[in-house]
Amino acid sequence: MVLPDASGDVLSEMDVDAFRRLFPLRFFETHLVKSTRPDGRSLAEARETSSALGAVASADGSALVKIGSTRMLAAIKMEVMTPSKESPDEGCIAIDFHMPPICSPTVRPGRPAEAAPVVSKQLSDTISSCGMINLKELSLISRKAAWMAYLDIYCLDADGALFDAALLSAVAAFSHLQIPVVSMNDDGKVVVLSGDHGGKEPVNKGKRKLTLSSIPFSLTCLLHKNYILADPTAEEESVMETLVTVVLDSSGQLVSLYKPGGPVLAYTSAIQDCVALTRQRARELQTILDEVTSSMEVD
């Protein structure tokens, strides 16, 4: 969509917003050659990220995460199930990612967004393959009862890098999770114990927190020509289409390298650059996560 130079005069008189809408690619490229982006960031810079725990009172664990304007609300509800025969000592995690119509003008009610099931699947794969959660910790009574952790993530505002924000909110929600103290009642059902225990012995004493080993952190990068743009906004994603999502765990292992097609081919050097950017980003995210979890412990 590059215009011939003759039209330069017209362009110089054109309103910036109009230019941005009519020639989005050219608009971005004029920024890129100056190693900057329309929102004032440098190419490798991620947007401001923040997180808050315990946003949903009715859930057992919850977190609200903001990356720029992208916002995710994740909440975990614990339910009880009978474990499967193959793994009698393991619980289960069910992850669902939702894009309600409020989050973006492209999502309409009744027609779920294309991206939602794909992000759900990616999240499930990532969380299971990095081994963050030991499913054995979700067991209550061997062969009889185990926890099913329903993690639902809602995108409240979609402005690019949805997977990154969703993963961070999932991790934050798990770190906030307080497993309810339960006991077995006379009907063989597991029920929550209220304050005075009612003479029943809790079955999961002292197991109210999950140990999170090797936490995954991700960064989505956009490839355009030789440029690598970290943490793209929705507008950047729609103009330049090649996305690479790298997930590293806290020990530096590669959990996922996800590049679904796109017009730009990724060569080894670009892959290594993306991995290096993710390493740096993982440290930032770790600090953010440590801050919110420690501030919660003080309360």
Binding site: K121, Q253, L257, G261, A266, I271
Partner: protein
């Protein structure tokens, strides 16, 4: 260092490939692709007039319908559809037929490991059969990483389940060109070393991944030769360019 594979293959050895084109009468283009016992059938219809909502009408649109062997399609199938769509979009020349839709229907006949790469290869052959304009072909491979850090290619279903991690990689096929080799290089690497698509599962070190890339590239050279050969008889004139 050698590890034994169940079917007696060497780590680098692919399963026997088979590709037949024009297998369906009513489709505009079709192909079936086998890698050992994994078999996928692909039909291509189009280009048909008009694009769907939310698609750019200035470009050709590609629609993927993934039909699993049994049962209904769920999240996994949605994800495969999205990956295939993005992968095929990157090899098609979308500006030639703006405001049209090409439907690609993937029918899984049998899944014995490396299903997504097999489907990508099949879809590529079917697109050629339908005469959809392409920039180049794509070749897909599955690399598996064993617990010991050893890499095996094109795993069967059993091997896939036993492995610590695996990567589905898609590369452009090698180009036959009269241009001198330096002009075909991008940043010191040949074009066919660029990754179109990468999907991984399981944790591995970054070096292991780069090792997978290397092995995958080596293997796809053979596969792209096979793909070219199986497409050639019906393209006698353009064989040097279409490659």
């Amino acid at each position: 260092m050698e590890i034994d594979r169940l079917d007696g293959r060497t780590p680098n050895q692919l399963r026997p490939l088979a590709c037949s084109r024009n297998v369906l009468n009513r489709a505009h283009g079709s192909a079936s692709w086998c890698q050992g016992d994994t078999k996928v059938l692909v039909a291509v219809y189009g280009p048909k007039a008009g694009t769907k909502k939310n698609e750019n009408p200035e470009k050709a649109c590609i629609e993927i319908i993934w039909k699993p062997k049994t049962g209904q399609s769920g999240k996994l199938e949605r994800e495969y559809e999205m990956i295939l769509k993005r992968t095929l979009q990157s090899i098609c020349i979308l500006t030639l037929n703006p405001n049209t839709t090409t439907s690609v229907i993937i029918q899984v006949v049998n899944d014995d490991g490396a299903l997504l790469p097999c489907a990508i290869n099949a879809a590529c052959a079917a697109l050629v059969d339908a005469g959809i304009p392409l920039k180049h072909l794509a070749v897909a491979i599955c690399c598996c990483l064993a617990e010991s850090g050893y890499v095996v290619l094109d795993p069967s279903k059993l091997e896939e389940q036993k492995m610590k991690a695996f990567a589905y990689l898609v590369f452009p096929n090698s180009v036959l060109s009269i241009l001198p080799e330096e002009q075909l290089q991008v940043g010191g690497e040949p074009v066919e070393h660029g990754i179109i698509t990468s999907v991984t599962q399981g944790a591995m070190s970054v070096d292991d991944y780069l090792h997978c890339l290397e092995r995958g590239r080596a293997a796809t050279a053979k596969m792209s030769a096979f793909l070219r050969k199986s497409l050639q008889p019906q393209l006698p004139i353009d064989s040097s360019k279409a490659g």
